[in-house]
Amino acid sequence: MGSSSSSTERIPDAQELMQETGFSAAHLVRLYERFEFLDKDDRGELRLDDFEAVSELAMNPIGDRIIGAFFSPGRETVDFPSFVRILAHFRPTDTNRTRNGRNGAQPEPANSRTSKLKFAFQLYDQDRDGKVSREELLQVLRMMLEMQVTEEQLQSIAERAIQEADLDRDDAISFDEFKKSLEKVDIEHKMSVRFLE
C-alpha cells in the first residue's frame, strides 16, 4: 500500500498501525468506522457496555471472554490501536512474510501462527501466569458445555484433557504444550476472518 487514502487522516497514527498490524488503509478505515459505530458516546474509546451492546455476543458461549481479550489487564477501556491490534490476530497468515527469514529485531506479526495460538491461549489463561491450570480449564469447559453436564463429568474431562496435553507433569498446560497439542490443527483456516475493505 503506497499512499494512504485521505480518509486515514482521521485515524491517529494510521501509518504506524498499518505497519504494525499489516492491515491495509482500506481495512483500517473500515475498522475505524466500526469502532466509531460501537463507540456510542463518542468517547474515542470503547468500554465494556459498548461491546456488550453487540447482541449476538450474549449468545456466544465465550463471548464475554472474547470481549475481555480486548481489554489490556487493568484497563477499562479500549482505544482504537488496541482494538485493531487484537483484530490483527485474525488476519489470514501471510505466508510470504513468515517464510522469509526474520531477524530478531522484527517482532512476531500479530497474525502468525504463534501469535494466533497465543491469543487463543490467553483466553484460557486469565491470570496471565503462562499456564492454564486445571481451574482455568474447568472455567472454559463450563462455558463451552451444556448445562446437563455435571460437575464430576466436567472434572473428569478437564482431568483427561490435562493428562493428554501436559508433558512435564506439572498439572497445568503451558503455552508450549498447548502449541504442541494443536500442531495438527489448521490454525490458519480456523482463526482467520476475511476483513473487508
Partner: protein, 783 residues
C-alpha cells in the same frame, strides 16, 4: 446355444458381485493398498474372461442405457444427499471455476493437441477430423464422480481438498453434456456449416443446460420436502418417495436434454435438510442406509462391468500413438489446468490452496465410467474410429482408477498432505476447535464484518422465513424458529439491568432453574411493552389454554430437553468416556450446520436449548461482574445508546423505557444489529410494579417471570446512587402475580433456591412451577 448370459441371469451375477464385495470389504489389508474399485475392475476382467471363454462373445457389456439410467443415478443421488452443503457452498466459487473452465480447458487442449499430433503424423493413418478430436476431447475431459469417490474414500485428505475435487467432478457434468452434444452436432453438420451462430448457440446451450438442470433438481428437491412435510401418516413409504422423486428428477432433466447429473445432485442437496427434519427418525435412517446400499451396489456393478467390457475381441483396436498420447495429454493438461486456475483463485481466497494440495487435486482428476458411457454413445456411422476411441477411453479409465488409485495413498502420505483427522483428536483439540468457531463468530460480530458469513446469514434468514415455512413441518420449524428470533429481539441492556436488579432481590428464578425457558420473541415493538421484554419463565406446560398468545408456544423444546435428559442419563450410565461426553455436549455455535453425514449419529435439535443456556450463563456472569462492580466504586453506567427508533412504552407508573433498534429493523443483519435500549428514569420516582400490566390482556394464571415483576427497581446507575438496589422499599412490590398469598416467613438466601429446586426434583412440569412459585413467595422482603 445357451450363452452364459442366458444361463446365469443377471440376478445371479449380481449376487456373486455382492458376495465378492463383502469379501473385499472384510479384508481391509487389501483395500488399504488397492482401492476397491481397482479390485473390482480386475475381478471384472476375470469374469469377462470366463464369459468370453464360454460364449466366444461378450454377452455382458455395459451399455450406455443401463449405465446412465440404472446405475449412475443412485450414486449421484447419494452424493448429493450426503453432500456437506456448508463446505460446498463456501468453496462454490473455486469449484465452479475448476468445473467449468477447467473442463473446457481439458477438452480443448486435449482435442487440439491430439489433432496436432495427428497432423504431425504421430498416429499413422486415422480417419478423424478436428471436430471428432474435439468431441473425443470433450468426453474424456471430465473428472468422474464415481471414480473420485471410490479412490478418495480410502484416502482421507483434508475436507477442503476433497470437496474441491468432488464438487468439481459433480458439477462438470453440465459442461461435459454441453460440449459433447455441441460437438456431436457439429460433427453431424460437418465442418463447413459451422459459423459464429453455431458457436454462440453452443455457449448459450451451456447456460441453459447447466442452469436448467440445476433448476429441475431444485424443484424436485422442493417437491420432496413438501411431500415429506405432509406424510405424517404414511411414514412407511416416506423413504420410497425420496428415491422415486430423486430418480424422477434425473429422468426429467434427461428428457428435457438438460444436465441430469446436475439435476439429481441439486435435488439431493436441496432436500436433505428438510427431509431430515420432517421425517421420522426411522425414515431418515432408512433413507440413509438404503442410499448407501444402492450407491455402493451401483458402484460395484459399474466397475465390474468396466472390467468385463474390456474382454471383447471385437472391440479392440490398438493405435499406440493415439492411446499413449491421449494418456499423456490427459495427465499433463490436468496438471497445467489445475495449477494455473489455482494460481488465479489464490488471489481471491481467504486461505490459499497449497501447492501440495494442488498436486493431489491434479492427480485426483480421475476418469471413469461416465467417459466410457459417452464413448459408447458415439455413432459409429459418423465416427469411423469409434472403437479406437472406446478402447482409448477404457485404457485411460483403467490407468486412472487402477494405477492412480493405487498410488494415491502413498503419494498423499509421502507428500504429507494435510489429512482429515481420522485419528482421535485430543480433548484439547476438540475443545479448541469449538473455541475457534465461537471465536470467529464473536470477532466477526465485534468487527462488523460482512462477508462470507453475511451472505450466508442473509440466505439463512430468507430460507428460514420463507422456505422453511413452506417446506418444513410446523413442529420441526418451531424448533428452529426460536433460534432465529433471538437475533431480532434481544434486548440486552434491559435484560442485564433486570437481571442485576432481580438478583439482588433473589428474584432471579431463571438463573437457577435449569429448565427455565427463555422466550425471545419480540417481533413487534409496537405491541405491548410486555411482549418486548424477554420472557423468562418456566414454560413447561403444553396447555394452550393457559397461553394468552401464541408466544407461549408449548414446548416441544422443553419436552425435547426432558426427553433428551432421559436419553442422556441412560447413555451416560453406559458410557463415561470423556471424549464421548465432550462430543455430545459442546455447544454447536450459531453458524454451525446442523447436518451431519455419519450413519450412526442422530442429531436431536437442541438449538434453542443451547441458546438459552448460553444466554442464561452469560447474563449470570455479567451480572456477577456487574454486581461486583456495583459493590465497588463503579462509575455510573450510562445506558443510553443511539436510538434509531424509539418507542415510548406506556407503563403504569413512572418508568419510561425506550427501545431502539439497530439499523435494520426489518432485516436480519447480524453485523449491525445493535439492539440497545435507553433507559431513563425519573429520579425519585415511585416504585412501580412493572410486572403488573394493566394493558395486558392475558389470563391471570399466566405467570410473569418472577424477576420481571420487580423490574420496577431496575437500576440504572442513577438510581443506584440514590439508594442501594436491595432495599426494603424496592422489595415491597415483590408480590408475584399468583393469586395465592402466602406468608413470607422463611428467609431463604437466593443460593439455596437453586439447590432446592434441584433437590426438590420436581417430577412434572406442574410441580416445578408450583415449587417455584412457592419458593418465590417465601423470600422475604428483606432479601
Amino acid at each position: 446355444e445357451n450363452t452364459i448370459h442366458q444361463r446365469f441371469n443377471s440376478v445371479e451375477i449380481h449376487l456373486v458381485v455382492f458376495f465378492l464385495l463383502s469379501v473385499i470389504e472384510a479384508n481391509h489389508h487389501v483395500t488399504n493398498i488397492i482401492p476397491e474399485s481397482a479390485l473390482l475392475i480386475c475381478f471384472g476382467f476375470i469374469l469377462g474372461g470366463i464369459i468370453w471363454g464360454a460364449d466366444k462373445a461378450q454377452t455382458f457389456t455395459l451399455t450406455p442405457t443401463v449405465f446412465f439410467f440404472y446405475l449412475l443415478p443412485q450414486v449421484i443421488l447419494d452424493a448429493g444427499y450426503s453432500m456437506p452443503n456448508k463446505l460446498f457452498f463456501s468453496n462454490m466459487g473455486a469449484i465452479l471455476v475448476y468445473a467449468v473452465i477447467g473442463t473446457c480447458w481439458n477438452a480443448a487442449s486435449l482435442g487440439l493437441s491430439l489433432w496436432g499430433c495427428h497432423m504431425g503424423g504421430a498416429m499413422g493413418d486415422l480417419d478423424i477430423g478436428l471436430l471428432q478430436y474435439l468431441l473425443f476431447g470433450s468426453l474424456i475431459a471430465a473428472v468422474d464422480p464415481v471414480a473420485v469417490i471410490a479412490v478418495f474414500e480410502q484416502v482421507h485428505v483434508n475436507e477442503v481438498l476433497f470437496i474441491m475435487v468432488f464438487g468439481e467432478s459433480l458439477l462438470n457434468d453440465g459442461v461435459t453434456v454441453v460440449l459433447f452434444n455441441v460437438f456431436d452436432a457439429f460433427v453431424s453438420l460437418g465442418g463447413a456449416k459451422i459459423n459464429a451462430v453455431e458457436i454462440i448457440k453452443g455457449i448459450i446451450s451451456f447456460f441453459v443446460v447447466a442452469f436448467g438442470g440445476s433448476l429441475v433438481g431444485f424443484v424436485f428437491g422442493l417437491l420432496i420436502s413438501l411431500l415429506t412435510r405432509c406424510t405424517k401418516n404414511i411414514q412407511i413409504i416416506e423413504p420410497g418417495f425420496v428415491f422415486v422423486l430423486g430418480y424422477l428428477a434425473y429422468l426429467t432433466a434427461e428428457m428435457l436434454s438438460l444436465s441430469a447429473i446436475l439435476s439429481i445432485v441439486f435435488c439431493g442437496m436441496c432436500c436433505q435438510k428438510y427431509i431430515n427434519s420432517n421425517m421420522d427418525e426411522n425414515s431418515v435412517n432408512t433413507v440413509r442406509y438404503a442410499m448407501k446400499v444402492f450407491a455402493n451396489g451401483s458402484e460395484t456393478i459399474i466397475f465390474v462391468f468396466l472390467g468385463i467390457s474390456a474382454i471383447d475381441k471385437t472391440l479392440w483396436v490398438w493405435n499406440t500413438g493415439f492411446i499413449l498420447l491421449t494418456l499423456l495429454f490427459v495427465i499433463v493438461y490436468r496438471f497445467i489446468g489445475v495449477f494455473f486456475l489455482t494460481w488465479i483463485l489464490n488471489k481471491f481466497r481467504l486461505v490459499p490452496l497449497e501447492v501440495i494440495d494442488q498436486v493431489i487435486m491434479s492427480y485426483g482428476g480421475l476418469r471413469g465410467a461416465v467417459a466410457y458411457g459417452l464413448a459408447m454413445m458415439l455413432d459409429e456411422n459418423k465416427i469411423k474410429e469409434k472403437n479406437l476411441m472406446v478402447c482409448t477411453t477404457l485404457i485411460v479409465v483403467y490407468f486412472t482408477v487402477i494405477i492412480q488409485g493405487i498410488t494415491m495413498k502413498p503419494l498423499v502420505t509421502w507428500l504429507k498432505v494435510r489429512r482429515a483427522a481420522v485419528s482421535e483428536l485430543t480433548l484439547i483439540e476438540k475443545v479448541q476447535n469449538k473455541v475457534f468457531d465461537h471465536m470467529l463468530v464473536a470477532i466477526e460480530d465485534i468487527s462488523g464484518q460482512i462477508g462470507h458469513n453475511y451472505m450466508r446469514d442473509k440466505w439463512n434468514y430468507f430460507e428460514e422465513k420463507w422456505m422453511s415455512r413452506v417446506l418444513m413441518k410446523p413442529s420441526a420449524r418451531k424448533n428452529r424458529d426460536r433460534l432465529f428470533k433471538v437475533f431480532h429481539q434481544l434486548n440486552l441492556k434491559d435484560a442485564m439491568s433486570y437481571v442485576a436488579e432481580g438478583e439482588h432481590q433473589g428474584s432471579l428464578e431463571f438463573v437457577r432453574n435449569k429448565n427455565a425457558f427463555i422466550d425471545f420473541k419480540k417481533k413487534n415493538i409496537d405491541d405491548d411493552y410486555y411482549e418486548v421484554m424477554p420472557d423468562i419463565m418456566a414454560d413447561m406446560s403444553d396447555d394452550h389454554s393457559e397461553m394468552s398468545s401464541d408466544r407461549r408456544d408449548p414446548v416441544p423444546s422443553v419436552s425435547l430437553e426432558m426427553h433428551e435428559q432421559n436419553m442422556k442419563a441412560v447413555r451416560e450410565s453406559e458410557d463415561i468416556n470423556t471424549h464421548h461426553l465432550l462430543q455430545q455436549h459442546l455447544y454447536r455455535g450459531r453458524k454451525q450446520h446442523r447436518h451431519r453425514y455419519s450413519r450412526s449419529h442422530f442429531d436431536v435439535n437442541k438449538d434453542e436449548g443451547e441458546v438459552q443456556e448460553v444466554f442464561q450463563r452469560t447474563m449470570r456472569s455479567r451480572l456477577e461482574s456487574f454486581k461486583s462492580a456495583k459493590m465497588g466504586v463503579a462509575p455510573p453506567k450510562t445506558l443510553s445508546k443511539h436510538p434509531k427508533k424509539e418507542q415510548q412504552q406506556k407503563v403504569r407508573g413512572s418508568q419510561n423505557f425506550e427501545f431502539s433498534e439497530g439499523d435494520s429493523a426489518s432485516g436480519f443483519d447480524p453485523s449491525y444489529n445493535a439492539m440497545s435500549v435507553r433507559v431513563t428514569y425519573r429520579a425519585g420516582a415511585g416504585i412501580e410494579n412493572l410486572g403488573f400490566m394493566p394493558d395486558l390482556d392475558h389470563a391471570p394464571s399466566v405467570q410473569l417471570p418472577p424477576w420481571l415483576e420487580d423490574s420496577s427497581s431496575v437500576v440504572p446507575s442513577q438510581r443506584a446512587q440514590v439508594h442501594l438496589p436491595w432495599s426494603h422499599s424496592s422489595l415491597r412490590r415483590l408480590a408475584p402475580l399468583q393469586t395465592s398469598t402466602r406468608s413470607t416467613d422463611s428467609d431463604d438466601p437466593p443460593n439455596d433456591l437453586k439447590e432446592e429446586v434441584h433437590a426438590g426434583k420436581p417430577s412434572s412440569d406442574a410441580e416445578l412451577k408450583l415449587f417455584c412459585t412457592e419458593d418465590w413467595t417465601r423470600i422475604s422482603p428483606q432479601r
